[in-house]
Amino acid sequence: MPVSGIDGLLEEAAAEVLETTFFTGLSEGDGALRPLREPLLRTRVAFRGSPSGRLGIRVPAETGRQIAANFLGADAGETSDGRIAEVICELSNVVCGSELSRLEQESAFELLHPEIEPPETSGPRDNQAVRCSLVWKRESWRSGSNWSLSREHGQKDQGVNR
């Protein structure tokens, strides 16, 4: 499948997951890069099969808190950091599975357990964006795509890496 088509599928998968499971969705944001005002929570989930690769999600801390509160049906102020991390791991897991099912409907794959990575605390970033990237290996080539969505539900910020 052309990489340009994968961008659309990733966005489609994320939109469905956010709407049905996390009670939020995609919308437009300004996409401007500014110094970080808050840490970025980072999770990744690797998958094996055809294709093999990994999906990563990077979420501003406060956005992560809101997503977790939506998912748990809890008050954002009472949601612990540990629970937020678990929910963002689950977000990674579901988006990854949903995306892979769209890419390779006939192939079996195995998702490994989502992992939490050290948070990012510096650098110019879109402070309101959730960013998701998918990178996979297939024989000798490697490709990936990414998009982001704003806290008020997202700006697409698509890019393609070969």
Binding site: E16, V17, E19, T20, T21, N93, V94, C96, G97, S98, L100, S101, Q105, E106, S107, A108, F109, L111, L112, H113
Partner: protein, 86 residues
Amino acid sequence: MLQKEWVDVVLTDLNISTMDGEEFVRKMEEDPAMRAIPVLVVSTDRTDHRVQQMLTLGATGYVTKPFQPETLREELERALGEAHAG
């Protein structure tokens, strides 16, 4: 937990940290005391291969994530109905 108290139905993901979901369903099926408990698998993996594998192992039903709440409710009702009928 299942060895200490009775539950009406079990929902399990395939990708859980303490035990592989496939192994969990297999253990449930092998245990005479637990075999009667319906098991619904909830997973992001929607490939036919995986669905058939889990149903063959003994899962009562299979719900793919993300799902609508109505879908889960229908599957729960069906699983409980089958358990009571069986």
